[in-house]
Symmetry: C2
Subunit: 491 residues, 2 copies
């Protein structure tokens, strides 16, 4: 066990924080609530971006860029949106600094006050729909399928590295459609894209479902979500897709002439996924040795470490590694040969375990004699010795097996920590220990939802798409219910 990490089972929150720092994913900055995403963390984000961007383009979307600033008045146009978003935000009021007349450094120039304050975007529906107004006249201009990669700011009071920061990076899709059906279809398509990405790249099983009215995006008629279970038994919302109806079209007066020549308001969706996913990767898979990165998102997939007593041995190992590295790189893998002399092999082993590199290849004096190498997989920490000549054929299926193994382990954890609960006492007991997902009947009222949250801090994570109807009684009120919903405490 890496001695410098807090033990995961003793203090999960501290373990998480230690890991972000020690694995050099990121750190806090001098600005309250804003983080620095360090190169290793950012490399994961680049991989997330690359894969998601491919999926967005394969589903017909294009990228564009809209302003960082939103005029204050834009928020007032959509009534529920302003309640949800315009409150805790960064407000630009001035556009100039000047030297203080009393020599006290630089101060805000009071004469450079903006007529209307600008809000740093917490999300871009308003500024984008204000543009769409000019882009859409007829059904021929639809659909518009645009995504934006951007930074957004929400003035959070309690922040945690990656999981909740004042500024964060994300993508936000904003689409415009001629019919309700098309918009609903798009909303579904994108939650499926997110679920596909979560399961196949992040190796993180998710439950797809509807948000309850209370938990919906401010301004949406419906919010779809994917919910994942973290190793401490708390849920993490990993991506949301919103059916916005005609709310924003009405707020920004975006009408179009349909095929029949009739004027109607445009239908909208929006959907987003953020750097929070890096936090999810850690919380879903990492252990007391450090990160466990799924090979498909790992910045470095294979590290090769020489073990030697003298430079003659190092030279011979280096000679052999050269070919192995080339062969693996030809397969499209990311490979590093770490022959730094100032660190011991043991130190390197621990460091790459900390960094979650999926496969480690070690070559020592005996391997040199036998033409073998020791292969260690990060997820199970199991080792095996194989002939050098087999490496190039051995590694790709091994990476697939690690990807699959990480997923299966997370799935098993979720299965073991999902509870069908029918009694309120049992609900109270389980939510405290061990936590996890609770599938329980709910009477469908906001009142009950609110009381459950008040008493347990658990919320309805979603009403799963894949639930079957069954007769039951609300776990809290005892009133009749037709289906179970997913409760959990959450990040």
């Amino acid at each position: 066990m890496a001695k410098f990490l807090t033990n995961r089972d003793e203090n999960y929150a501290q373990w998480y924080n230690d890991l972000v720092i020690k694995a050099e994913l990121g750190e806090n900055s001098a600005v309250r609530g804003c983080m620095v995403i360090k190169p290793y963390g950012y490399a994961i984000w680049e991989n997330i971006q690359r894969e998601l961007d491919k999926m967005f383009k394969a589903t017909g979307h294009v990228n564009a860029y809209f302003p960082l600033f939103i005029p204050k008045s834009f928020f007032s146009r959509e009534a529920s949106h302003v309640e949800g978003f315009a409150k805790e935000c960064a407000v630009v009021t001035h556009y100039r600094l000047k030297n203080d007349e009393n020599g006290k450094g630089i101060v805000v120039d009071p004469s450079a006050k903006l007529e209307e304050e600008l809000i740093i975007r917490p999300t871009s529906e308003t500024i984008i729909w204000n543009s769409y107004k000019n882009w859409i006249q007829s059904y021929r201009d639809l659909p518009i399928l645009i995504n934006q990669w951007a930074n957004v700011v929400r003035w959070e009071m309690r922040t945690r590295l990656f999981l909740r920061t004042t500024e964060f990076l994300w993508q936000e899709g904003h689409t415009a459609h001629a019919t309700r059906e098309e918009a609903v279809e798009e909303t579904e398509r994108m939650i499926n894209v997110y679920a596909d990405f979560a399961e196949n790249f992040m190796a993180m099983p998710v439950i797809k479902g509807y948000k309850s009215e209370n938990e919906r995006f401010a301004g949406a008629l419906d919010t779809y979500t994917i919910e994942a279970l973290m190793q401490d038994g708390k849920a993490l919302q990993a991506g949301t897709s919103h059916f916005l109806g005609q709310n924003f079209a009405k707020a920004f007066d975006v009408q179009f002439t349909d095929r029949a020549g009739k004027l109607d308001y445009v239908w909208a969706t929006s959907w987003g996924l953020s750097t929070r996913m890096i936090g999810a990767l850690i919380m879903a898979h990492a252990d007391n040795h450090g990160l466990v990165l799924p090979p498909r998102l790992a910045p470095l997939q294979v590290v090769i470490i020489p073990i030697y007593k003298n430079t003659d041995q190092l030279g011979k190992i280096t000679e052999k590694v050269k070919n192995i590295k080339t062969d693996l790189e030809k397969l499209g893998l990311s490979v590093k040969y770490d022959d730094r002399e100032n660190n011991t092999p043991g130190w390197k082993f621990a460091d790459y375990e900390l960094k979650g590199v999926p496969v480690r290849i070690a070559i020592g004096p005996r391997d040199l004699e036998n033409n073998t190498a020791e292969i260690a997989r990060r997820d199970t920490l199991r080792k095996e010795t194989i002939p050098l000549k087999d490496i190039a054929t051995h590694i790709p299926p091994l990476l697939d097996s690690i990807q699959e193994g990480i997923y299966m382990k997370a799935l098993q954890f979720r299965t073991e920590n999902t509870f069908h609960v029918d009694k309120w006492d049992e609900f109270l007991e389980i939510i405290d220990n061990p936590g996890g997902f609770i599938m329980a009947h709910w009477d469908g009222t906001s009142e009950t939802e609110g009381k459950i949250k008040e008493e347990t801090k658990a919320t309805i994570r979603c009403i799963p798409f894949e639930g079957t109807e069954e007769d039951g009684r609300c776990v809290y009120s005892g009133r009749p219910s037709k289906r179970r919903v997913l409760f959990a405490r959450s990040y």
Copy 2:
């Protein structure tokens, strides 16, 4: 000629603006000075990013992300930097809005005033060096070679789409080194990367050189620049690389222990290139028909347009196009078959010329009979008819030839519009008409530089790296000079 474009030779500025709008590259937003980068413009930016990012990584750099906000006090630490950057900037003073008590919508909550104002980054040296302070203890921690893709804000009074906007997208490299020599080497390396990118991808010849002291980046000991000539005879600064000496290390107290065990301040560089390059692409190459995009950056490289009288013909053409498209896509080319029925071939021809698509393939009834296609190249507008079976072998060298042709044309234009001037009268005459690059002797004083600027609006664009020493006299003051420098009016 596209009738809806203002004639380039009659009103260059209006032609430029028309083109940005009509080719759907971007438009103004509701926020003063901020633009919307539309999908077609953003696709060019994505190609610029992809190529530059590859070059940065090939030279050992990694990406990271630092906060959007910079505490006001950070700017005061580097004396010349604050003068250059902290003046016209967006200032965040509050972090909350609230409902107005008199029902007048939402207002800034006066109780949510920040203790210290935050500046939206106009450039990130200060916030980054504040982080580097914690990352660097010893020479073993160096070099740090980090790049950031980000948005920045400079409160410009006069803005123009892409060329000068309040918010813009860019990359900013920030490196830290153990020695002056290494930092100078890095500064040179990156201006060479920019020049390579400008010439080989943007097809835009550039002159590399030093900025005069007046034109240097605020906080730099030396600024290297690449300068390109636009078709109206004005210069455009296309990328800069700064040797920052130990200025920022001193301002943020970043010291390290060198190999000899001695404490020293760290050496720094920074370098940036922005969405302004999209403006440069237009101004360098476009004509009265529209954009002329270099194939290596064109979002769409080949468009195929069917010309038909009936659906039977369309069906046959579509059948043939299917294979051609697949063949070209296998070569890694971006290809579109535009068989939309609501637009005429003529309309499509004009539209793709406007959009600057490098190659157009048209297939009509006669081509169907002869198994041929008409190939038109956007740069020269020349057409030729070739057998269908030759298309896949014909197009890649044609794209290379277009890339080369665009570059050679721009180079010839620059050669014809670069003037060696020795007399002040001649300087005055040429700078007004035709404009262009003026190579002239300068006495090396800021005073003379200032007067020339005052009288002609021309500035020293750079002191070219490749100048040869020669005895001469300053074109303005008549004082002795050892080399010519590059003057021009500029964007």
